[in-house]
């Protein structure tokens, strides 16, 4: 059974169809890419998975369980976590507290023991943030800030991690380290979905790639298949027939 499945998800804003009948699935223990030109509907699709946006029609399943009408917080309890394209850090907290507060939330909303401080230290170590843990989060560079969002999301022990353009703002070196970290996370059984414009990164990291264009799913497959797909090339570069 796939970890996440969307069935015919459609989102309309007024007359605009941002996501158009998209059915796709994400497997646990792997990194899945979600790519497409600007305005293809990737972030909107993310929002329907996380509950920030109700789909006009269609359904979203996590582990076969219908979560279409669940509130965002409830989905987080079920194991959905995300990062944000335009960074949603807690700017009045330090790096450590940004991560720690996620543990505070888990502890407050779920029963059972949860060692917030121990888990914070472990994840700061794992993501390589330990050395900057006591800095104000507003003072660190964007590349690091993206990692803080990932560490924060991991505090909730998610089963599905949605990353919205995590590599933008990272240096090449940071991106390389980031890719290694993501692969390590996927190996622990976590399902990762990656919206990213750094296509070399996506091609290198993802087992499966879904391509959206104008709200529609136009291709799904391995990196090689996607790169060879004429629809994908047309979506990204423009239609050969028109320009010929």
């Amino acid at each position: 059974m796939p970890l996440l499945e969307t069935q015919g998800v459609t989102v309309r804003f007024g007359g605009n169809t941002a996501v158009d009948d998209v059915s796709l699935s994400i497997e646990p223990g792997s990194v899945t890419g979600l790519i497409g030109p600007n305005g293809a509907g990737k972030t909107t699709l993310f929002n329907t998975v996380t509950g920030m946006q109700r789909p006009t029609s269609g359904r979203v399943f996590l582990d076969g369980r219908d979560i279409t009408r669940k509130a965002p917080a409830k989905r987080a309890h079920l194991g959905v976590a995300r990062t944000f394209q335009r960074l949603e850090l807690f700017l009045s907290l330090s790096v450590r507290d940004n991560v720690r507060v996620a543990g505070d939330i888990v502890k407050a909303s779920r029963r059972g023991a949860y060692d917030v401080n121990g888990e914070t230290d472990r994840l700061l170590e794992l993501t390589g943030l330990a050395s900057i843990a006591d800095l104000e989060v507003s003072s660190i560079p964007t590349g690091r800030a993206r990692v803080v969002e990932v560490a924060r999301a991991l505090m909730t022990h998610p089963r599905l991690l949605l990353l919205d353009e995590p590599a933008s703002g990272q240096t090449e070196h940071e991106t390389e380290e980031f890719a290694v970290m993501l692969r390590g996370l996927a190996d622990t059984g976590l399902g990762i979905c990656l919206v990213e414009h750094d296509l070399p990164l996506v091609m290198q990291l993802c087992a499966t790639i879904h391509v959206l264009d104008q709200g529609r799913l136009i291709a799904s497959g391995t990196p090689a298949e996607v790169q060879a797909s004429p629809e994908v090339i047309a979506a990204y570069i423009g239609n050969e027939e028109v320009t010929a």
Binding site: M52, A73, A81, E88, F90, L93, A102, E136
Partner: protein
């Protein structure tokens, strides 16, 4: 049928005035994103000005009307926008709210300065109350006709402006996409300014129209609050839709009139309920508004962040605070103890804002109304004994606190799903309901098998508390108990910020979207912090009542609540010290200043008006502090503390300061001089401490950069060389070279060393 027609017409008149006021509110909000709490105050000022022109100076009606509504009203809007509102685009909601609230308070203070509130003024209908026409047998005064006709005309005119004029079309466009409007060559700020001009003109219009309809007496507070009744209508249009706003305004006018007209006469509560109805409707509207969509905030680097103190620091400050209060108590004259107690009870109420507004970013504009709930509950549950032996026991205090917390939860409920502004409006509605409905429950009524009046005879006599052996009938005991209570609560609130709960509140304030995505139910979190805050406000209210001995409606005026909120934000709402500042300003400084000046006025009758003006000027100055809050969002107390921070590195200065303070205190204690001198000397000493520190130990007090600048100032500028101090050999040598004189021989060894220092190189060869 005639009766129905009469009520309908009266309702339409009221609704029309509501519509005019509310549409101005919506107009300014949509184009500038600022909800103008001062809208009512603008209407009030306009009514007073109209009275001044028409009645006091005898101008013709039309001239006075045009001057107020078409000239001064819009001009005031333009000034407000350009001076204040323009800079508020990207600031926190709290700052926006506080700035317009400060404008409201400033306008009320200004009007009371110009128009002495003890003197009654009456404003007649625009064409006199005798001019009327007959509509199906009902007498309709011209003024009433004017209200309805102007509302209709306004609806038509706004529609035309919005579709037929370029300005109107740009006003709609700025709501759609301000950036695109820039690209079309328009300045959105100029459009917002025009809408402020128009909106303020409408406020003035509403003010002139509503005053005679509401009875005609000019009273600043009442008139200001009249327009708040229209918030419901504006909110029904979601602060966007003018047609919906109009519809709700008219409906509101009709319902209020029918409710008053048709209720059976034995229902004595109806007249109160009628007054509360607009607030009740506002509440209902907030309840049915669709939920805000959770969306990411566009985060910008905000100005410097507040430092979060540790619990240990808080404990030290708490102890110091109690000690200082003790020392003050030893020397303060007995008449000062009362105001000090008042300062502390207000500080406790203000403390309720720290977790709510400071940590969680939500706004409560009516903390005193929550206090009123606490007082009522405590009054009914906790008084033992009678006469002078009567005491308030702990049961009353605890019950009052808990019930207020529960009521707080109920109040917050409708607005929990919405953004901060709506919650603020919800609390304001609650404040209105408390003062028009709850406090007016002065007759006994049959509640659940008991005959109880909530607020018997309009005055609650609350005796001093007695908890175990601690009897607070003695003022000094009460003061020290309050000091300890404030310190403990303060330390608790600082400690709270350092717990997981406090971090969750901060997270919710910074990014609601991210907080929800991590699994936090925002509704639960907001509800809990609102209940906590209401509970503290309830406790503070109980204490306030028992220090005052008795409380009446006067004590819970929304204006006092607004002042307290404003001053706490000015002091720094994220800090316990900000709450102390707010409490001291409202409870102590206000009383002292007005008391001192009125005392002086009695002593020196020849300067009476001058001293009176000082008191008013002070009130306006306080409002200006609120208006300036955008300059200093972390609060003045925080800023002042920051300037003392370097003193920690200069212990000797601190010790010396402490010694001087002790000396000054002892001299007062043995009676060398009085309290005023003590206060002034202490104030000066504290003020001078950092300056003394900088002169005495500059290297410890300054940052390296400041130190470098300081040093640079100590080396004389070139033109003063040789005047202040003799020229060195090197300088003499360079000067000779420059002037073309044969250089005097230079001690070469010394020169080489200097150069070495300058360049850091060894192989310098001295000139031969």
């Amino acid at each position: 049928m005639d009766l129905f027609l009469t009520y309908t017409i009266l309702g339409l008149v009221l609704g029309s005035v509501y519509a005019i006021a509310a549409s101005g509110l919506v107009l300014t909000y949509t184009t500038s994103g600022i909800f103008n709490f001062a809208h009512g105050a603008q209407a009030m000022l306009a009514a007073f000005l109209y009275w001044q022109f028409k009645v006091a100076w005898g101008m013709p009606t039309l001239v006075a009307f045009v001057l107020v509504v078409c000239v001064i009203g819009p001009l005031l809007g333009i000034v407000l926008y350009n001076v204040l509102m323009k800079g508020l685009r990207d600031v926190e909601e709290v700052t926006k709210v506080v700035v317009t609230v400060a404008v409201l308070l400033g306008m009320v203070a200004l009007s009371q300065w110009i128009w002495d509130p003890t003197q009654a003024r009456k404003m007649d209908m625009l064409f006199g109350s005798s001019t009327s026409i007959d509509v199906f047998g009902v007498v309709v005064r011209y003024h009433e006709l004017l209200c309805v006709v102007s509302a209709i005309a306004l609806a038509v005119a706004l529609r035309l402006v919005f579709t037929r004029t370029r300005l109107g079309v740009t006003m709609r466009a700025v709501v759609d996409d301000p950036d695109l409007l820039r690209l079309n060559g328009y300045n959105p700020e100029r459009i917002a300014m025009s809408s402020w001009a128009l909106g303020s003109g409408l406020a003035a219009f509403a003010g002139v129209l509503v005053t005679p309809v509401a009875g005609g007496s000019l009273e600043a507070n009442t008139l200001t609050l009249l327009v708040i009744d229209t918030f419901a209508a504006a909110m029904f249009g979601r602060l966007r839709s003018i047609p919906r706003t109009f519809a709700c305004a008219i409906a509101l006018g009709l319902v209020v009139t029918y409710a008053g007209g048709y209720a059976p006469t034995q229902w004595d509560w109806v007249s109160n309920f009628k007054a509360a109805l607009p607030m009740v409707v506002l509440f209902l509207v907030l309840l049915v508004l669709p939920q805000d969509r959770l969306r990411g905030t566009s985060q910008t680097r905000t100005r410097e962040r507040a430092r979060v103190p540790s619990v240990r620091q808080a404990a030290v400050w708490g102890l110091a605070f109690v000690a200082i209060m003790y020392l003050i108590l030893q020397v303060a004259s007995p008449i000062m103890v009362g105001p000090l107690i008042a300062a502390l009870v207000f500080a406790v109420i203000a403390l309720s804002l720290v977790p709510l507004t400071g940590y969680a970013g939500e706004i409560n504009l009516a903390p005193l109304s929550f206090g009123a709930i606490g007082v009522i509950v405590a009054f009914h549950t906790g008084i033992v004994g009678t006469g002078l032996a009567a005491r308030l026991n702990w049961v009353g205090i605890v019950a009052g606190t808990i019930v207020t917390a529960l009521v707080g939860g109920l109040v917050a409920l409708p607005a929990l799903r919405l953004r901060g502004l709506y919650l603020a409006l919800g609390t304001m509605a609650f404040g209105g309901i408390v003062s028009t409905l709850v406090i007016k429950e002065i007759q006994p009524r049959h509640w659940f098998g008991l005959d109880i009046a909530l607020f018997p005879a309009g005055i609650l006599v609350v005796p001093p508390p007695k908890i175990g052996p601690l009897d607070m009938a003695k003022e000094s005991t009460f003061l020290m108990t309050l000091a300890v209570l404030f310190a403990v609560l303060g330390i608790g609130i600082v400690a709270l910020r350092n717990t997981g709960y406090g971090r969750r509140l901060a997270a919710m304030k910074d990014s609601p979207a991210a907080t929800a995505m991590l699994g936090q139910s925002l509704v639960k979190l907001k509800l809990s912090v609102f209940m906590l805050s209401a509970g503290i406000a309830g406790l503070g209210g109980i204490l306030m009542a028992s220090t005052a001995g008795s409380v009446s409606a006067e004590n819970f005026l929304i204006v006092v609540s607004l002042s307290l909120v404003m001053l706490t934000v000015v002091g720094g709402v994220s800090h316990v010290s900000g709450a102390l500042f707010g409490g001291v300003m409202v409870g102590l400084v206000f009383t002292l200043i007005s008391g001192t000046f009125s005392g002086l006025a009695i002593e020196h009758p020849e300067f009476e008006s001058l001293f009176g003006s000082f008191a008013h000027l002070f009130a306006i100055a306080v409002a200006l502090m609120g208006i300036g809050v955008n300059q200093n969002p972390t609060g003045v107390v925080h800023q002042i503390c920051e300037s003392y921070r370097p003193l920690r590195n200069a212990r000797p200065v601190l010790y010396a300061g402490g010694a001087v303070a002790a000396g000054v205190y002892v001299l007062n204690y043995v009676g060398v001089y009085g309290d005023w001198w003590l206060a002034i000397l202490m104030f000066c000493g504290v003020l001078l401490l950092p300056i003394v520190g900088r002169i005495w130990m500059p290297e410890r007090m300054m940052t390296p950069a400041e130190l470098a600048e300081h040093e640079a100032r100590r080396t004389p500028p070139p033109e003063l060389m040789g005047l202040d101090q003799p020229l060195s050999d090197t300088e003499r040598f360079e000067l000779d070279l420059l002037l073309g004189l044969p250089p005097r021989p230079l001690p070469l060894q010394e020169f080489a060393e200097e150069l070495e220092q300058l360049t850091g190189k060894d192989e310098v060869h001295a000139p031969a």
